[in-house]
């Protein structure tokens, strides 16, 4: 059980002018027992951060603390963490049993205890029949379980998972997702899970840490981050299809304000008027989630949007419409119930719940507070 | 010459092929005598219009390269050079063409060759297969400056009660070897490498000690008491009066020790005599001389004879052109020119040539050396015998066998080979 703390931690490759800052002075507190997700596109520094925690990469600047103790210079072997790699990193010449026993043997765990721990973990993961096989005789999903098992038998202070599900097919991935969630609930051990898959991020973690370009953009509970993205990056990254982001302006409209874009005019609800007033006459980015567009007026302040259908993606339980706003307008995605009679190129009218709109400053890309 | 022109012209007419493109291919060893020929080749090519292509390789490769060409029906070598100890083998295998008809037809004079040369690399069982090319009879290289040194003379007189001078007998030579081993210098340097360097060098010891390789019935006699004593002398010289490592020396390494002035004497091939005076590789220019290896009495010599001969293989693609080349290269004027460049002579007319003697005063000593030299037994299995002898001598030198054991083993194998060759009853 461990809490992990990063104080202004950086990872710098190379020196001088050619130095590359992979991680730029991030601060993060991961609580004991938390399931923390590092989310971001490739190259954002999330894996590097995980590897620094594991001790596989040195910390260039800043302090890394585990349970309040600075571990920058502590060998990975002594940090008592376990890591599960994306490509499993099993020892190819050892059987499953030997793979799992290796770390324990090195630590001098007595034989009978190793045996009982392996038996227990193998039972949990359903890999008992595989114990005497070599990794080359296992399927991808089985290897994944073995890799996980190898981490579990160690009973470490924390688990570090480096995109462990990304090599699995979609079905297996969702099964393993559920199992990891259950495991975490059962063990209560701190877990850090690196992924670029926003579904994993949303479903698995107690908190998400979204990274971009070596920096932390936003940290929070999945629903909070979803509901209240800190900037256009987060807004555009979480969920599929992502939030619609439309270049727009705020104009005075009679008594109040309206967000105007080609083919679109959304009145600013009373509640937000004071917050958005300073932006009157300025460019903004309007954000509307596809699920906040409706066929019929909904919510307290619906705004009508006229558009033409570009494509129809019938997914079964729901349908994603890609529509185009009037003359020279932007394209939007709308998530609508499955039933409906849509044809490409037909003109339709959709309604936005204006209370659920987000506005971002185009210069900083940050959300305009309200 | 006219005759030759005519015959060559008629040959041209017959073959009706572009004769000026004819090429004589010869495989030769990279030695000084080969380079002298290379220098003179333009004369031949100008006179005959025949191109000569010399393929020059190290000794080590020669036998290996020759054999496949000689075995085949049509080889690539027009003429070849034959080391004396391949003669028996080549003769037995029938790889060489008899030259007597050509010699008679062209009136080529073979009587000018040193008789021992003709025996070694000329005739086999009464038929002439080769013309002697150059001799490499072995001699004793020694340091004249050390002999003339007054301090040495006095010390030698004090020690042995005799005068220090060029040795006349084998025992006197051995005494000098012992005497000159002092102050970081050695009395002798040996070439103890297997198989031919040690076998050839020790042959001189055998002859000097009064021993012989075989009796008239081709039975090995070199394991006689004389032979054993000769090998014991050799071991003592190599281990006690020579430099460390001489047991692994080939002739070039041994000569380096001698030419750097570190040893009083070195028994080796006579062509090294010229190298003593070559300032580019010698620190003892003008201080070394060669003589025949001394024997039991001043009248006897202990030198081993050695020579190369020219031959035309059965597989020669163009034997006529090859013969033209042989005739030219062994003609009196070319033989003399080669000698003037530094070549080792095989002909008495060259040895006695005033111009040659004037340029190389040692010529007379070399002639005496050659005349007093002994032949190595040449038969079909000479190469194999050299191999066996070299191995056994080396075993004795490295102390793994006694002299008697080693020579007995070699003699037994010699007898087997002689029986196999039908030499013994």
């Amino acid at each position: 059980m461990a809490s992990i703390q990063l104080n202004s931690v950086s990872r710098i490759y190379g020196q001088g002018a050619s130095a590359v800052h992979a991680v730029k002075g991030i601060d993060l507190q991961i609580e004991d027992g938390e399931f923390m997700i590092f989310l971001g596109p490739s190259g954002c520094g999330k894996s590097t951060t995980l590897r620094m925690i594991a001790g596989l990469e040195p910390v260039s600047q800043g302090d890394l603390l585990i349970d309040g103790q600075r571990v920058n210079d502590v060998d990975p072997a002594e940090r008592d963490l376990a890591i599960v790699f994306q490509n499993y990193a099993l020892y190819p010449h050892m059987s499953v049993r030997q793979n799992m026993a290796f770390g324990l043997k090195l630590r001098g765990t007595p034989g009978p205890e190793i045996e009982s721990r392996i038996a227990g973990v193998a039972e949990t993961l359903g890999i008992r029949p595989l114990l005497d096989r070599k990794p080359s005789q296992l399927s991808g999903g089985q290897r994944q379980r073995v890799a996980l098992g190898r981490a579990l038998v160690r009973e470490p202070r924390a688990f570090l998972l480096d995109e462990p599900l990304s090599n699995l097919d979609a079905k297996l991935r969702s099964v393993m997702r559920t199992e990891l969630i259950k495991l975490h609930r059962k063990l209560g051990t701190t877990m850090i899970h690196v992924t670029h898959d926003q579904v994993e991020a949303m479903t698995m973690g107690t908190r998400i840490c979204i990274m971009r370009g070596g920096e932390i953009v936003q940290v929070g509970k999945p629903q909070d981050v979803y509901r209240d993205p800190a900037d256009t990056f987060v807004a555009g990254f979480l969920a599929t299809p992502p939030m619609n982001l439309i270049p727009a302006r705020i104009e005075a409209a009679g008594e109040g304000l309206a967000v105007i874009a080609p083919g679109l005019s959304v009145p600013v609800p009373e509640a937000y008027r004071a917050a958005y007033a300073p932006y009157t006459g300025r460019e903004v980015i309007l954000g509307i989630r596809p699920e906040d567009l409706f066929e019929t007026p909904e919510g307290a302040a619906p705004a009508a949007i006229d558009c033409s259908i570009e494509t129809v993606e019938a997914l079964g339980p729901e349908t994603i419409l890609n529509v185009k706003l009037g003359q020279g307008g932007s394209e939007l995605a709308a998530r609508l119930p499955a039933e409906g009679d849509w044809e490409v190129a037909r003109q339709i009218r959709l309604f936005a719940d204006s209370l659920r709109m987000h506005l971002f400053d185009p210069e900083t890309t940050r959300k305009i507070a309200r | 010459m006219k005759k030759y022109m005519l015959s060559s012209l008629s040959a041209l007419a017959l073959t009706a092929v572009a004769a000026h493109a004819e090429t004589v291919n010869i495989l030769m060893e990279a030695v000084p005598d080969t380079t002298y020929i290379q220098q003179l080749l333009p004369e031949f090519e100008e006179a005959t219009g025949i191109d000569v292509n010399l393929e020059v390789v190290n000794y080590a490769e020669m036998h290996t390269k020759l054999v496949p060409q000689l075995v085949s029906n049509s080889g690539s070598y027009s003429a070849i050079v034959v080391d004396f100890y391949w003669v028996g083998e080549f003769f037995k295998a029938g790889w060489m063409q008899p030259l007597d008809d050509r010699i008679a037809a062209d009136g080529f004079d073979t009587s000018v060759y040193v008789p021992a040369m003709m025996d070694l690399v000329g005739q086999v069982e009464g038929t002439t297969y080769m013309l002697p090319f150059y001799n490499y009879a072995m001699g004793l290289l020694y340091r004249t400056d050390l002999l003339e040194d007054e301090a040495n003379k006095t010390a030698y007189m004090d020690a042995f009660g005799t005068e220090l001078k060029k040795p006349e007998t084998w025992d006197e030579y051995l005494q000098q070897v012992k005497f000159f081993t002092k102050d970081g210098s050695y009395g002798v340097v040996n070439q103890g490498l297997r198989p031919d360097p040690i076998a050839m060098e020790w042959s001189n010891y055998l002859f000097a000690k009064g021993g012989e390789f075989i009796d008239d019935g081709w039975h090995a006699t070199f394991n006689s008491p004389e032979g054993v004593a000769a090998l014991e002398d050799y071991i003592t010289n190599l281990n006690d009066y020579g430099p460390v490592g001489a047991a692994s020396f080939s002739f070039d390494e041994a000569f380096n020790v001698f030419s750097q002035g570190q040893a009083y004497s070195y028994i080796t091939y006579n062509f090294f005599r010229a190298a003593v005076d070559d300032a580019s590789g010698s620190a003892i220019v003008g201080k070394g001389e060669i003589m025949g290896v001394p024997g039991q009495t001043p009248e006897e010599g202990g030198s081993l004879n050695g020579a190369w001969g020219w031959a035309i293989p059965k597989s020669s693609p163009n034997p006529d052109a090859a013969w033209e080349f042989l005739k030219w290269v062994e003609s009196p004027e070319i033989a003399k020119k080669r000698a003037l460049l530094g070549g080792s002579a095989t002909r008495l007319d060259v040895f006695d040539d005033a111009e040659v003697i004037a340029k190389y005063p040692q010529t007379t000593a070399l002639k005496e050396l050659l005349l007093g030299s002994h032949n190595f037994p040449t038969f079909t299995y000479t190469p194999q015998f050299v191999e066996v002898l070299g191995r056994e001598l080396s075993l004795a030198v490295s102390g793994e066998k006694s002299a008697q054991e080693a020579l007995d083993a070699a003699a037994a194998e010699f007898d087997e080979l002689a029986i196999k060759d039908g030499r013994q009853e």
Partner: protein, 295 residues
């Protein structure tokens, strides 16, 4: 036998068609000489009297097996191969491990190490004969400057054996380095990271991860090197001619002399065939051990 469709049959025929030229070429350049040597080994075939008139049966084999010098050469060759391959393997592995960790100047080290390998063995032999010349060579001179007596590198039996071993190591060790390094750099990095997190020390990582994962490469490297070592000929020819005595009379040089000095091809072929059988046996053993690793 299962039913074979026309298409499969045609595919098979086409396959044979494609491989035929290669197979024929292989048979011509590899199989033919071996078969020829095999046949010759049963005849009293000498280059002086070439011909297959005198059938010897197993006579050449019996003669070779009874030839003390030949058996001695085989024994010396065994010692030589064990010494050369063993030392080269350990040294080569150490160097390869160091190079694998080197961050900078890898190419430079690589080039320097490759130099000996690029030199013709004959030149290597001549060079070392000069360097090790007991009175005029630089090594003994250097030893002399610190008061060490001149070493008789090639003139004493035991010393000559080890000198030849060392020169061969100097010449060929980079072969090991290159192959092992290629193997090392092809190893996946993840198992090492997993092992580090599992708590393995550098030595434990080498022992439990590197060695087992390298085993196929090691086996192949040892095998190739071993076969090369058995074939060692040039260095012996140049440096010792098998001497002093018979201390360095390796089998390849022995067989060579039987063929080209004695011109006794029948017996030489019999000896070569015996050698081939031994090498083939060793190869099979190593091959099997390698397949076990891969399973």
């Amino acid at each position: 036998m299962a039913h074979v469709t026309t298409m499969e049959r045609e595919n098979r025929r086409f396959g044979w068609l494609l491989t035929a030229p290669g197979l024929v070429l292989l048979a011509a350049v590899v199989l033919f000489p071996i078969v020829w040597a095999g046949i010759t080994s049963f005849f009293n075939y000498s280059l002086i009297f070439p011909g297959y008139d005198d059938f010897a049966g197993l006579g050449n084999y019996a003669k070779a097996a009874d030839d003390g010098e030949f058996l001695h050469s085989a024994w010396i060759t065994l010692l030589f191969v064990v010494a050369v391959v063993g030392i080269q393997f350990v040294a080569g592995f150490v160097v390869a491990l160091m190079l694998n960790d080197a961050r900078r100047g890898k190419t430079v080290y690589y080039l320097i190490l490759l130099c000996p390998l690029l030199i013709n063995p004959v030149v290597v032999g001549l060079m070392w004969r000069m360097i090790l010349h007991p009175t005029l060579g630089i090594v003994n001179w250097l030893l002399g400057t610190v008061g060490i007596e001149p070493v008789n590198w090639l003139g004493a039996p035991d010393m000559a054996f080890w000198t030849v071993v060392l020169v061969d190591i100097w010449h060929q060790v980079s072969f090991m380095v290159v192959l092992l390094l290629a193997g090392l750099s092809a190893l996946p990095a993840e198992p090492y990271e997993a092992a580090r997190v599992d708590g393995a020390t550098p030595f434990q990582r080498f022992w439990h991860i590197t060695l087992p994962m390298m085993k196929p490469v090691i086996v192949v490297t040892l095998l190739i090197r071993m076969i090369f070592a058995i074939k060692t000929y040039d260095i012996i020819y140049i440096m010792t001619r098998g001497g002093p005595g018979v201390a360095t009379d390796l089998i390849s040089y022995f067989i060579y002399r039987r063929a080209f000095v004695s011109l006794d091809l029948g017996e030489a072929c019999a000896m070569a065939a015996m050698l081939l059988i031994v090498i083939a046996g060793l190869t099979a053993v190593l091959w099997r051990s390698m397949r076990q690793v891969q399973d």
